[in-house]
Amino acid sequence: MEKKLYETLKGAFHAPPPERKAAFLRTHRRRELSSAELLLSQAGYVRWWTWALSAALFVILLLLAAGREPERVWISAALTPLLALIAIAEWGRSRRYGMEELELCCRMPTGAVLLARMASVGLLHLALLAVFTPMLAAKGEAGILRAGIYLLTPYLLTASLGMELSRRIRGQEGLLVCTAAAVLVCVLGVWALGTRRSLYQPEYLPLWQIALVLTLGASAWETVQCVKGTEELQWS
C-alpha cells in the first residue's frame, strides 16, 4: 500500500506541461561548475611552493626508501607531519592574510573554495603516500598495510591538530603554533624510534589501527568544523 500510495500521489499531483520551458532554457541556460572543475580551478590558486615543498619532501622520502636502514619506515613516518604542515599552512592562508572578507565576495562559498583547495593538496599527499608506501614496504619487514598505517597516522594527527589550532588561534601565531605541533609530532616519532622501538612491533598494530581510526575521525570532524566556521563568518 505504501509504495502504491506514493506512486499514486505522484500521479495525483499532475500539472499540465509547461509551454515555454524550452525557449526559457535556451535563453537562460548557464554552465554550472562541476566538483571536479572546482577542484582543478582552485588547485591553480595553491601557492607554487606548496607543490614544490611537497615534491621536495617526497624526494627525501624516496631517498630514505632507497636506503637499507631497517628504521627507514619509522623515520619516514616521523617526517610525514611536515607534509601535513604544508597542507595546514595553505589552509589558513586567507585567514592569516586577512583575505576572508574578499573571499566571501566571490561567487563560490568560502567553505567550498577552502575544501576544494585542501582536497587538491590532500589528494596529492595521499597519492604521494600511496606511491611511496609499497616502495617502502617492498624491502622491509613491515607489509604495505603496516607501513601505510605508520605513515598515515602521524600525518592525520598533525592535520587534525593543525586544523583545531588554526581555528582557535588567528594570524601568524596560528601558523607558529601549528608548526610547533607538527614538530612535536615529529619529535615524538623520533623519540619513539630511539627509546620505545617496541611500539613499532606487530603486537602493537591494533593500537596503531585504533589511533588511525581516531585520527581519521578527528580530521573529518575538524574539516567539517572549519567549513562550518566559514558559514558562520558569512552570516555574522
Binding site: T8, F13, A15, K21, F24, H28, E32, S35, L38, R107
Partner: protein, 146 residues
C-alpha cells in the same frame, strides 16, 4: 554543486501550478523565480539553492494569489494512470487536506525536496517534519482504506 535547471524547472512549475491552478501564471512565476535566482550571485552557490528557489517561488505565488484571479482554462488530465479509481479517490482526499499539508506532500513526495531543505524552509526540526508528514500520509491511507 551544480543545479539541474531543466529538472528543477518542472518541479518549481508544478509547485507554482498547484498554488495558482493556472498554467500561464504558474509558468510566469516559475520563470521569474529562475530569473531572480540567476541574477543573485550571493546565493547561487551557497549549497542552499533549493531553499532559495522555493522561497522565491512561494513569495511570488503569495503575491500573485493576491491579484484578482482570471478564470483559468480547463487543464489537461494525466494521460494514463495505473489505478484510476484510487487516483480519483486520492485527488478527492488531497483536496480535503489543508493547503499547507497538501504543499508539504507535494514538496516531499512528488518534488522529492530533501528533508533538510524542507526543515529550513518551514523553520521546523527534522523530528517535527517527519511527524507531520507521517500523520498526513497515515490519515490519507486510513481514509482511502476505510
Amino acid at each position: 554543486m551544480a543545479l539541474d535547471i531543466e529538472e528543477q524547472y518542472d518541479r518549481i512549475y508544478r509547485y507554482c501550478w498547484f498554488r495558482l491552478r493556472d498554467r500561464h501564471r504558474a509558468e510566469d512565476i516559475t520563470q521569474e523565480t529562475f530569473l531572480r535566482w540567476l541574477a543573485s550571485d550571493t546565493w547561487r552557490d551557497t549549497g542552499q539553492t533549493l531553499q532559495y528557489l522555493y522561497t522565491i517561488a512561494r513569495n511570488l505565488c503569495v503575491d500573485e494569489s493576491r491579484k484578482p484571479a482570471v478564470d483559468p482554462l480547463p487543464e489537461d488530465l494525466p494521460a494514463e494512470e495505473s489505478d484510476p479509481l484510487l487516483s480519483i479517490a486520492l485527488r478527492h482526499e488531497l483536496e480535503r487536506l489543508s493547503p499547507e499539508d497538501r504543499e508539504l506532500v507535494l514538496l516531499r513526495v512528488v518534488n522529492e525536496v530533501p528533508v533538510g531543505v524542507l526543515c529550513r524552509l518551514y523553520g521546523v526540526s527534522r523530528f517535527a517534519l517527519y511527524r507531520r508528514l507521517r500523520g498526513i500520509l497515515k490519515g490519507l491511507r486510513q481514509r482511502l482504506e476505510g
